[in-house]
């Protein structure tokens, strides 16, 4: 790391959240280790620890995958059991990696990691090309509406850095991905083990004209990933200071989920339908003229109308419809399958109700993308198109339009566990 650290530059950086998916032997941990190591995000004491462990395992080189090594069970079994978060920064951007394991049974972790990501790295072994797991990972990334997918064609060293091998994988992938709605797909041929095209180019693939993986991560355009069109402000809580200075202050605290709210805008509170105007947008460091996603602010209105947690402020000419029957793509996350006719707590933004699965239309075969009709038995890691009936109207948007207001989770009241994640269609 350079000695003269650019403080101002650091303050101006954007944040990119990405998820990584690959099967057990695709070299995913090695790739992440390589990104961290080559971008100098690993400290000396960590390097020493990994050097020691590598030696203990009888390896000649430093096993980069050990940098992402987690809990005891994982170290003993050499597997990843859960989503782990990693952090690194370059002078251009700050990155959060949601590192998710790729085994068959861990769809739920991948969905979890993907839910907050702007970008997905999908690893493909250059020798094997597009396999079932690649398809599954891509499908989940597209289902979760991750705007950018980078396909890392890894282990190029094992195919003699051949352009032919690379082109073959690109074609296979492109043919497959055409069936899905993915906006931005890029391909990078690399060897995570030797470092080619991860952080530095190396000299083995002069035929490749694109940038390194890191260069792509640093430059991909992400600021339009939020919905700036449809104003949605789910109220988290009401702030009433009860102090002399702010005696009549009644502020609605929340995080903008969509659109741009301006001082003076006329707004409607749902579900009541009562109208008012934005009096001010408050933060502790001063009032704002406007607020946009994903800012956390406090809004005061001109009229004293009754608003509480779970309500949403919107513009009068752009209102989501309150729906009690929701069409949802559901990912089941729990080992116990749904109980017939059971009611679950449904959480949607800050609103909460109870809901029942009233119909299972089809399950997805996530390897072939075929619809499985007639199989109504939902199990852990299944993805199914279902109908939910909620005890009260929820003001949801399509997930494809807004990932915040289009997503729900189901909580089992008997165990309090989060059992399913859903995307509104």
């Amino acid at each position: 790391m350079e000695n003269n650290f650019d403080t101002q530059g650091y303050l101006d950086m954007e944040l990119l959240r990405f998820t990584t998916a690959g099967s057990v032997d695709d070299g995913k941990s090695t790739l992440i280790g390589r990104l961290l190591y080559d971008s100098k995000s690993i400290f000396e004491d960590q390097v020493q620890q990994v050097e020691q462990s590598s030696k203990k395992k009888g390896l000649e080189h430093v096993d980069l995958s050990l940098f992402t090594d987690g809990l005891k069970d994982e170290r003993e079994q050499g597997i990843t059991i859960d989503v782990a978060y990693r952090y690194f920064a370059t002078p251009k951007r700050k990155f959060i990696i949601a590192d998710t394991p790729g085994h068959v049974q861990y769809t739920r972790n991948m969905v979890t990691g993907a839910s907050t990501a702007n970008l997905a790295l999908i690893l493909v072994d250059a020798r094997n090309g597009v396999i079932e797991q690649t398809k599954r990972h891509t499908f989940i990334a597209s289902l979760l509406q991750i705007p950018h997918i980078f396909v890392c064609i890894n282990k190029m060293d094992l195919v003699d850095y051949s352009q032919l091998a690379y082109d073959k994988v690109v074609k296979e992938y492109t043919d497959f991905a055409a069936k899905l709605s993915v906006k931005d797909v890029r391909f990078v041929p690399m060897s995570a083990l030797h470092g080619d095209n991860v952080v530095s180019r190396g000299d083995k693939m002069s035929w490749y004209e694109g940038g390194t993986l890191l260069h792509n991560l640093e430059t991909v355009h992400i600021s339009s990933d939020h919905n700036l069109r449809d104003c949605r402000f789910p109220v988290q809580t009401v702030i009433r200071p009860h102090s002399d200075q702010y005696h009549d202050f009644r502020g609605y605290a929340g995080r903008v989920a969509g659109g741009i709210f301006k001082k003076g805008d006329s707004v409607v509170a749902l579900p009541s339908g009562l109208e008012s105007r934005i009096d001010a947008i408050h933060t502790m460091t001063g009032e704002l003229e406007e607020a946009f996603p994903p800012q956390s602010v406090t809004i005061t209105l001109e009229h004293d109308i009754d608003i509480s947690r779970g309500d949403v402020l919107v513009r009068s000419e752009n209102r989501p419809e309150g729906q009690q029957d929701l069409d949802v793509m559901l990912c089941w996350l729990n080992a116990k399958p749904p109980r017939p006719r059971a009611k679950y707590v449904i959480k949607h933004t800050t609103a909460e109700a109870r809901a029942m699965i009233t119909d299972i239309q089809y399950k997805m075969d996530i390897n072939t993308l075929h619809r499985i009709q007639g199989d109504k038995a939902i199990k852990m890691n299944d993805i199914a198109r279902v109908k939910l009936r909620s005890t009260k109207p929820l003001f949801a948007d399509y997930y494809t339009v807004n990932r915040v207001t289009g997503s729900i989770i189901l909580v089992d009241e008997a165990t309090n566990e989060t059992v399913a994640a859903g995307m509104v269609r």
């Binding site: 400290f43 960590q46 809990l71 782990a84 502790m284 989060t418 994640a421």
Partner: protein
Amino acid sequence: MSDYSLTHLEELEAEAIYIIREVFAQFDNPAILFSGGKDSIVVAHLARKAFWPAKIPFPLVHIDTGHNFPETMEFRDNLIKEMGANLIVGSVQQSIDEGAVIEETGMNASRNALQTTTLLDTIEFNNFDACMGGARRDEEKARAKERFFSHRDDFGQWDPKNQRPELWNLFNGKKRMGEHFRVFPISNWTEMDVWQYILQENIAIPELYFAKERNVIWRNGSWLPVSEFITLKDTDEPQIKMVRFRTLGDITITGGQESDANTLEKIIQEVASSRQTERGNREDDKRSESSMEDRKRQGYF
């Protein structure tokens, strides 16, 4: 950058404020675990921003090992006064006196591990159902797998294999009687983010973080402050060094490093060029490869 994008610090701040407000909305009796270290100071600052112009609606809970830097105590009391917040102290000394825990003895004795019992007792005694802390995922590998809303059973234990999936920004704080949550609003922050934020927001921190001449001994690769709580060996040579502390824990286990960083800007330069992890000087983490994981499973911070 377009007009409608946030810098990464603004985005992290917005996320943390959102989470703190969720805690307020979803729990009956939440608290902030306050150590006097920079991370918990930042959490307290964020809580203030989350509810402004109202006061922060949570008490601050300090688990007092009795082995504190005097500066940290003074800082704590001033901050509490300034924020108009409630302070609740859980005393490790009291746990020892009551026989709930047995104090370690010997050269490297520490009360670090004893804190868990006092912490869990304090949570139970006060009926806290959510305790917010300043832990960050970049600190340590067991922390990297931690959720924002981390569920604890009625023994306060963490089960890393059985965590609730956390999707989008939908947080599930539902629990049975007797269970509680630990919540980590700055999970996604790195050490550098915390320092940059302290600089940007002009947040007061204890002067121990700044380099100053201090009376120290060299032990296990770092400068340990000489205090009444530390047993000196014949070979120990106390000396005056320009030292600062990168993390603040118990005075018996927090090693300082030689440094001339006496301003926030200089600290940031130093952190940026540092080749050692922040917790590298913490004796509590050096005990074994999985010492943090083991302590966390039992209910540690």
